[in-house]
């Protein structure tokens, strides 16, 4: 797998690279991950904290080209507290202990991977200082967005003595790359699981249990990868169906059944 910056990627892959970038930006727009704002409405404090938008083109081993969008969180570290952004993950021993219990009780196991997990999560409207998260989109990405939707044309500003074309946007979804994205997704997942009837384990914040028809169902997860187990395979089917309904609006949740899980 080789990663290229957008400009280098377009140079290497030509039109195909540009199309991939175009479709990624379209997806982010359609999911309302950000909305354009007038630079006059951006406060000094918000401008100082503004993050940059980055897009990379990745050439996969099988020759496919994928676009990866992320926000450059480097600047966020200066004004965000550690406890606001640290998201828990399950410990290795939790995965192993729950797997031993699955084996001992003869439970059926299902694993799944939630696609585009972060962008399904809403950002807080403002941070604790009352500032919105502003993302600057520059250069080729501005051209791509304007090509897709005319509305962006009204918000273009020129910076750096007229050399840089910039779009100011207000980030509304947890984009990949933002420090708090993983934490926000974790909170959303926990809330959804609790709503579905799960209770968090007291010792590992990424393990939850629920009693279904007299037997325990256990779910453990690492960011967007979930493992669920129950003695009745139908209950795992229902659980995976729930995951699909809750998180599968953008793309299908990839689930695995059977005796071997990665």
């Amino acid at each position: 797998m080789v990663t290229y910056s957008l400009q280098k990627g377009i140079k290497k892959f030509g039109n195909k690279g540009r199309e991939v970038a175009l479709s990624k930006m379209k997806q982010l727009h359609d999911l309302e991950c950000f909305k354009p704002i007038n630079v006059k409405d951006v406060s000094k404090s918000e401008n100082r904290k503004a993050i940059e938008s980055l897009l990379f083109l990745v050439e996969k081993r099988d020759g496919r080209i994928k676009a990866r969008h992320c926000a450059n969180r480097k600047l966020q570290r200066q004004w965000m507290d550690w406890e606001d952004v640290s998201s828990p993950t399950d410990s290795t021993e939790s995965t192993l202990i729950t797997s031993i219990i699955d084996a001992k009780e003869g439970r059926d196991v299902g694993t799944c991977d939630i696609p585009n997990a972060f962008v399904q999560t809403k950002m807080n409207p403002t941070d604790k200082h009352g500032d919105r998260i502003i993302m600057k989109i520059r250069g080729v990405l501005v051209d791509i967005l304007c090509e897709l939707y005319n509305v962006y044309n009204d918000y273009i500003v020129w910076e750096n003595k007229g050399r840089d074309k910039v779009l100011y946007t207000h980030v509304t979804k947890a984009l990949y790359g933002l420090l708090e994205s993983a934490m926000l997704f974790y909170k959303k997942l926990v809330k959804d699981l609790q709503h579905y009837g799960f209770e968090l384990n007291l010792y590992d914040p990424c393990v939850a249990n629920k009693i279904v028809k007299g037997n325990q169902m256990t779910v453990s997860w690492h960011v967007d990868d979930l493992k669920g187990s129950h003695v009745n395979p139908n209950e795992i089917d229902l659980f995976l169906k729930w995951v699909q309904e809750t998180y599968g609006s953008i793309a299908k949740v990839k689930s695995t059944r059977g005796k071997i899980h990665d």
Binding site: T92, E93, T95, L96, I97, S99, I100, I101, D102, A103, K104, G106, V109, K259, I260, H261, D262
Partner: protein
């Protein structure tokens, strides 16, 4: 890491693909030199102060392999833990002697590359810890502690590390 539940009552932790990647990124000529029965010898913690420092490329390889082994020993191959615990203390100034010890561990992994960790529970409501320590075995006379957590068969959690105070 693959979790294999095909055999009733047990789960195997399969890291064979990861071991293969480690082996492929290590110089092949030394791996095939000889057979070893264990990943280390009783001289693991003895340090030859006169041994020469490794050149840059070998030193980088030493660091990379140690980092890879650190991840491996925490999941499917706890059998290499003591060796890894020693290597992690040598990455900043690794010597030819340390390199030979690393080669031995890699030869062992090469020979046992199909090995998987099998875990079973006799009684999953009782967890057993087994802990031991060796006094003043490290080069700076610090002691070494190791322990495993099990439910009856196989180490769910294992550690092997130099003590910080004694």
């Amino acid at each position: 890491m693959k979790l294999d539940l095909r055999i009733d009552g047990q789960v195997t932790i399969d890291m064979k693909d990861y071991v293969t990647t480690m082996i492929e990124s290590f110089p092949k000529d030394v791996l095939l030199k000889g057979k070893v029965a264990s990943p280390w010898t009783e001289n693991l913690f003895k340090v030859d102060q006169k041994s020469k420092l490794l050149d840059n490329s070998k030193s980088e390889q030493f660091h990379t392999t140690t980092a890879q082994a650190l991840l491996l020993c925490k999941r499917g191959r706890p059998d290499i833990s003591p060796a890894v615990a020693f290597f992690t203390t040598r990455v900043k100034a690794s010597t030819e002697e340390n390199w030979n010890k690393l080669v031995r561990m890699m030869q062992y992994l090469h020979q046992s590359r199909d090995g998987v960790l099998t875990l079973k529970a006799d009684n999953y409501k009782v967890l057993h810890w087994h802990v031991d320590a060796a006094f003043a075995v490290d080069p700076d006379f610090k002691s070494h502690t190791g322990g495993i957590l099990t439910m009856g068969h196989g180490a769910i959690l294992s550690y092997s590390r130099k003590q910080k105070l004694l």
